[in-house]
């Protein structure tokens, strides 16, 4: 039999497997065929191992036959961004400096997903060390946007987003330090969830900026986002910042939400976001149309102020680069990764770290500079004070509203062949949530006349992940456009 993988979701697959419509091995074959067909165009993977997938799928089938499946999702494949450690698979962070590195352990999120039977399959392309928003700085070469191959897919989780958008995978996991799940999700017509900081363990995700990093799913609908978040969240002794409460029952709660959830909902519109000069018309229009839709279903729209956001991108870059520069000190060519020759130890350090890409070098240099005595107070500490102010302003906002509606990205995706530029503005709607630990999700809202998808972002206060996903489920049920499938 044949199945239209373009329309498959995790929960649909779970139903199909339970009904015996196809086996896990057949499911794997459907996707391997799809990959063979479109991967030469999209290039979403750094690497994948089809034989390993088929072997693990056969094991899942055997468990099902014996009535011992690990969960309804046993045997479903997932992509892993190339900065997430999976034992036995390479993990290079798309960097030449880490080529050949095979982590001797699983990230905690991988262990959680494997305990439910999910199969980590494929290393998804990304910007080198998750620094960037185009997936063009990878040592494996750039990824294309499945909706228009001449455009980039966003980043840094661009491979994860493009593969799900192109239906090469039912879902994938990414990481988000300043919008790196949400922005590529918007560009590729999929859902991208950045959970509350601490919801998903960071253990085994190559650290970039530890006070901002968070793992999360990229999916084809919000129920799948809930399934994956429920499966991979929870307290982890190996990450002291993880939250203590569990999200058991999340997926069912989201599935059982209806459009009535929107009645009386207080939806905030941030004036500074909507009035920003860099916001392109298509991205603004998607938010405005969503406002009208939410209003027509009984939501109340409230305008709110977030003045500190105008300094937040600067604060984000100062903090992110400073933390990244210290985290990436570990890349030295001695204990793991690729070593460049040098007469003395220092030469090895300089030469091996000299193999970082230009974009990474720039950020590590700026980060190093920011924490020198000369700059520490003026840049780093002041950035942390801006962060405090931003957290306080969000706290006030969430007394007045339940949820915020914003653009995900100020712009539509750019062309792959455009010269790289230092565009800090790309992160404007992303970074605030990482600085303030909010949970946020990008949701496909519209398709432009040019055939490109537009995402909008919903933001909730820290720890309100369940509320956020229920609200998005209600929106999804009302949204006029039901399918986001590229012509590929």
């Amino acid at each position: 039999m044949s199945v239209d993988v373009k329309r498959l979701t995790i929960h649909q697959i779970a139903d199909d497997l339970a009904a015996g419509k196809y086996s896990c091995v057949e499911l794997a074959q459907f996707y391997l065929e799809r990959i063979q067909q479109v991967e030469p165009l999209v290039h979403a993977f750094c690497k994948y191992d089809g034989k390993d997938l088929l072997r693990k799928a056969a094991e899942a089938d055997a468990r099902r036959a014996a009535g011992k499946q690990l969960s309804p999702y046993d045997g479903i494949l997932l992509g892993m961004k190339d900065n997430i450690s999976v034992k036995g698979q390479s993990c290079s962070c798309a960097s030449q400096t880490l080529l050949g590195y095979n982590p001797p352990f699983n990230a905690t999120l991988v262990t959680c997903l494997e305990s439910k039977g999910f199969i980590p399959f494929g290393r998804m392309n990304m910007d080198e060390f998750a620094m960037g928003s185009t997936t063009r700085s990878s040592v494996y070469g750039p990824t294309s946007n499945p909706w228009g191959l001449e455009y980039f897919p966003g980043g840094s989780s661009g491979g994860s987003a493009a593969a799900v958008g192109a239906a090469e995978l039912p879902a994938a996991i990414g990481s988000d330090t300043g919008g790196s799940i949400r922005q590529p999700a918007a560009f590729c017509g999929v859902y991208g969830l950045k959970p509350t900081y601490g919801r998903v363990s960071r253990y085994g995700i190559a650290a970039m900026a530890s006070s901002l990093d968070q793992g999360g799913p990229l999916t084809r609908d919000v129920i799948d986002a809930a399934i994956l978040l429920e499966s991979m969240s929870g307290f982890d002794p190996l990450d002291a910042m993880t939250l203590h409460d569990s999200l058991t029952g999340l997926a069912d709660a989201v599935k059982n939400t209806d459009a009535g959830f929107l009645k009386g909902l207080r939806v905030g519109l941030v004036k500074e976001y909507m009035n920003w000069s860099e916001l392109e018309p298509a991205c603004r229009k998607a938010v405005e149309n969503a406002v009208e839709l939410l209003k027509s279903h009984g939501a109340e729209i409230i305008e709110v102020d977030l003045p500190t956001t105008l300094l937040a991108t600067q604060a984000y870059f100062a903090i992110m680069m400073a933390e990244a520069s210290t985290n990436l000190e570990r890349i030295d060519g001695i204990r793991y990764g690729s070593q460049e020759p040098g007469k003395r130890l220092n030469d090895i350090y300089l030469n091996s770290r000299g193999k970082f890409g230009e974009n990474t070098k720039l950020r590590l240099l700026a980060g190093t500079l920011i924490i020198t005595k000369q700059c520490y107070q003026d840049y780093f500490v002041n950035a942390q004070k801006v962060r405090t102010r931003l957290v306080q302003e969000f706290r006030e906002i969430f007394k007045k509203c339940d949820i915020l509606l914003t653009p995900t990205s100020p712009t539509m995706p750019g062309r792959k062949d455009a010269p790289p530029s230092l565009k800090f503005q790309a992160d404007f709607y992303g970074v605030d949530c990482n600085l303030a630990a909010n949970c946020a999700i990008s949701v496909p809202a519209e398709i432009t006349d040019d055939g490109m998808p537009v995402g909008i972002q919903f933001i909730a206060a820290p720890k309100k992940d369940e509320f956020l996903l229920k609200m998005v489920r209600a929106y999804e049920l009302c949204r006029p456009l039901k399918e986001f499938i590229p012509n590929l």
């Binding site: 050949g100 095979n102 001797p104 352990f105 509350t196 900081y197 601490g198 006070s211 002794p237 002291a240 910042m241 939250l243 203590h244 300094l311 600067q314 604060a315 870059f317 100062a318 001695i334 204990r335 793991y336 990764g337 070593q339 007469k343 003395r344 130890l345 220092n346 090895i348 350090y349 300089l350 770290r353 000299g354 970082f356 230009e358 070098k361 720039l362 590590l364 240099l365 700026a366 190093t368 500079l369 920011i370 020198t372 003026d378 840049y379 500490v381 002041n382 950035a383 942390q384 004070k385 801006v386 962060r387 405090t388 102010r389 957290v391 230092l422 600085l435 303030a436 630990a437 820290p462």
Partner: protein, 103 residues
């Protein structure tokens, strides 16, 4: 108008232990200047009574028993090192400048 601050890329690259070619030095100096100029508004932040935020959110401290645990074997830990010796050590070249000379 206040003169923009200049930062010497060679000095920063030395601190960051990142090797740069002369061409890269030239190119990245311009980009470093641009990135520092972008962040320059932070230097004018005047929030004397605001505490800096190090962690955005916390569920309280995470305590555990002070028991040492072995997560990885020596073999696992050495498996990724480019050069090892006797399956016991990571091999590196000469560290000191010359024999007997402490620098």
């Amino acid at each position: 108008m206040e003169q923009a601050r200049r930062f010497d890329i060679r000095h920063v690259a030395k601190l960051a232990m990142i090797g740069l070619s002369p061409e890269e030095e030239k190119k990245l100096q311009g980009e470093l200047d641009a990135i520092m100029e972008f962040m320059e508004p932070l230097t004018r932040v005047n929030m004397p009574n605001v505490e800096p935020t190090i962690r955005p959110f916390s569920d309280g401290n995470a305590w555990r028993e002070d028991d040492p645990q072995v997560l990885f074997s020596r073999e696992d830990m050495l498996a990724n090192a480019p050069y090892t010796e006797d399956d016991e050590y990571i091999k590196v070249p000469q560290v000191l400048a010359e024999e007997g000379m402490m620098q």
